[in-house]
Amino acid sequence: MSTAQRQEFESVLSGWGRVPVVQGAELRSEDLARLTEDLPLTRGLGRAYGDAALPAPSDRLVAGTTLADRILSFDPETAVLTAEAGLSLDELCRVFLPRGFFTPVSPGTRFVTLGGMVACDVHGKNHHREGTLGSHVLSLTIRTGTGDVVRCSAKEHDDLFRATIGGMGLTGAILDVTLRLVRVPSTSILEECERVHDIDQSLDALKSASARWPMTAGWIDCLASGRHLGRGVVFRGRWAEPHEVPPSPRSQPRNLTVPFDIPGWVLTEPAVRVFNALIYWRYRARHPSAIVHPYTFLYPLDAVAHWTRLYGSRGFTQYQCVLPDSSGREAVARFLTVLTRRGGASFLTVIKDCGAEGIGLLSFPRPGISIAVDLPMRRHNTQSLVDALNEVVIAEGGRVYLAKDALTRPEHFRAMEPRLDAFLAVRRKWDPERRIRSAQSVRLFGW
């Protein structure tokens, strides 16, 4: 056995939540087009929490895109950028933010690739205004399951285009991405924080903030129960105008790291309770309005390297769902009640009001309230907790975000997703031999 084979045999891969762990390896090359000729899946920076970027049980190798990171063209007049799929958002920020350009939509971490952002059709704090990334993508180059390299856009092969946006890499390997960046007036963000005392206030504050501000999100303490249920902090922000920025603006947040796995017994419910209370009380002292570095506002967790080690070697799953406006704000309270009653102690529970649904066939956001919680892995009850949460989401007419998902059952996903058949039809058309697949697609769709 050669060294490469031996390593491939022994090595394992997992997503950002560190569970599940599967046998497999990532093969990387600058020449993504050639690399993807005979590999069933591409993987970017591995920030999908669950099994979206893991090889299916019958596969071992996935194509790593991170070396395919060239900028192929950029026109400062139109702000249109074409780049290889492995270009990271971090690098995009580093190159283009000083020139006054930024990604139109940013997820909560900058350690993602362009290809991954398209495949998950990421949304951010500006979803209520700008929608998902997909609405800013002009065209894509894709190696489909038949091996053909196809360029697609809203005008050309629009079925493939719409299925690929939010399609979790299951329509083929995204090779190049063309999207329109946005111009920003400065390289700082004006941020305001408002403390809120219960779930009604949280949702009201989020709604009124979103009416006036381009970027909003809320953090809530999901362990505060009774009349405090849903207390937290609502953040709102916008790019600062040049005259508002002090001569020496705040620098990038300093990097901390979690050097080792925190033992499981540390992260018990009382510990999370204390942590959440501390954050809640901290914001009372904080200045209500500040000029901050965009990374501080947009990527607070990126400042802590290996933060997933907080959840110990057992890992965690993240659960994110959107509950539609039509089911009302009581739906949010009902969801949180089920979560807390079943002991889902979450460090960070983030809420965000979503705007219109995107063009992607499986795109996650829809008008309503998105809730994201971390669920540390416990021996038996994490699966049943996810099942219970999914049942609430189905009853309310909502859906879950595949980029975070590791445990949803196929029948639950189908019940949430009336668009699934349309998506699978496009997948079948462009990949009749079913060569493109992931651990997640096999779990949820059977192939």
């Binding site: 600058e30 060239r70 950029f74």
Partner: protein, 251 residues
């Protein structure tokens, strides 16, 4: 000392450490011309560097294949014509295969020895003549720590790199007084597509960190640079080991 911004020709800028080095050069305003095997790849890299460059200039490209000697002069002619004059020539191109594979495939072994030694030296000779003709310049060539000591895992690859390092040292001694600065880069294990799939040793380096060190070495005219720096110490110890120890080590 290299004048800035410099006119730089890079053979091997489409991948790995060459790509990282060319990006750093583009981002500080150096003017670049790329040589390599595949025109399409060269054009994609040229676009990348142009987009990152702080000055507006077209990054030119020409096909130059270390397996085909006849491509060398034509490519360098094109580079000189495009840039006006050459200040720095960087060579990062080369081949790699594991010792096992080279032993199984003698043709591949012959090709690797030819490309990594004879042809690379031939290319350097052409570049040297051009640099000296304009009064000097910098020739920066990527050799390897594999050339420091005969080792079990890199018998053939290491031998070619040892030859290349020897040539570069000689060049430095002979021509530095005439203005030709030779920078011999000796990377240890760096995580690039060349080493993809190999077991990762401790102190594995990142291409961009290597590029940063190499750029500093080019600017200062340092004749030998190890990257990551830890490999200078590692190789110092390896060089001291007696042969009976090396025979026992699986390194």
């Amino acid at each position: 000392m290299v004048k800035r911004p410099a006119n730089v020709v890079v053979l091997g800028a489409t991948k790995g450490m060459g790509r990282a080095l060319a990006r750093r050069m583009a981002e500080r305003g150096d003017r670049l011309f790329l040589l390599g095997r595949e025109l399409d790849e060269l054009r994609r890299s040229a676009s990348d560097l142009q987009s990152r460059s702080t000055v507006h200039h077209d990054v030119g490209v020409a096909v130059c294949d270390l397996e085909r000697l006849e491509t060398f002069d034509a490519a360098l002619d094109q580079a000189e014509a495009a840039l006006g004059s050459l200040d720095v020539v960087v060579v990062t191109a080369g081949q790699f295969a594991t010792q096992d594979r080279l032993e199984q495939d003698p043709e591949l072994a012959h090709r690797l020895l030819t490309v990594n030694f004879a042809n690379t030296v031939t290319f350097c000779e052409r570049a040297r003549r051009r640099l000296l003709a304009r009064g000097g310049g910098t020739l920066c060539v990527f050799s390897s720590v594999a050339g420091e000591r005969g080792r079990k895992r890199v018998v053939l690859y290491g031998a070619a790199k040892a030859g290349l390092s020897g040539y570069l040292e000689g060049l430095d001694h002979r021509y530095r007084a005439e203005g030709l600065v030779t920078v011999c880069v000796k990377p240890g294990f760096v995580t690039t597509s060349m080493t993809e799939g190999l077991p990762r040793p401790p102190f594995a380096g990142h291409p961009d960190a290597v590029a940063k060190r190499v750029l500093a070495a080019i600017d200062r005219g340092k004749s030998v640079v190890y990257a990551p720096p830890m490999w200078a110490l590692v190789m110092f110890i390896i060089r001291l080991l007696p042969r009976f120890v090396m025979r026992r080590l699986d390194f």
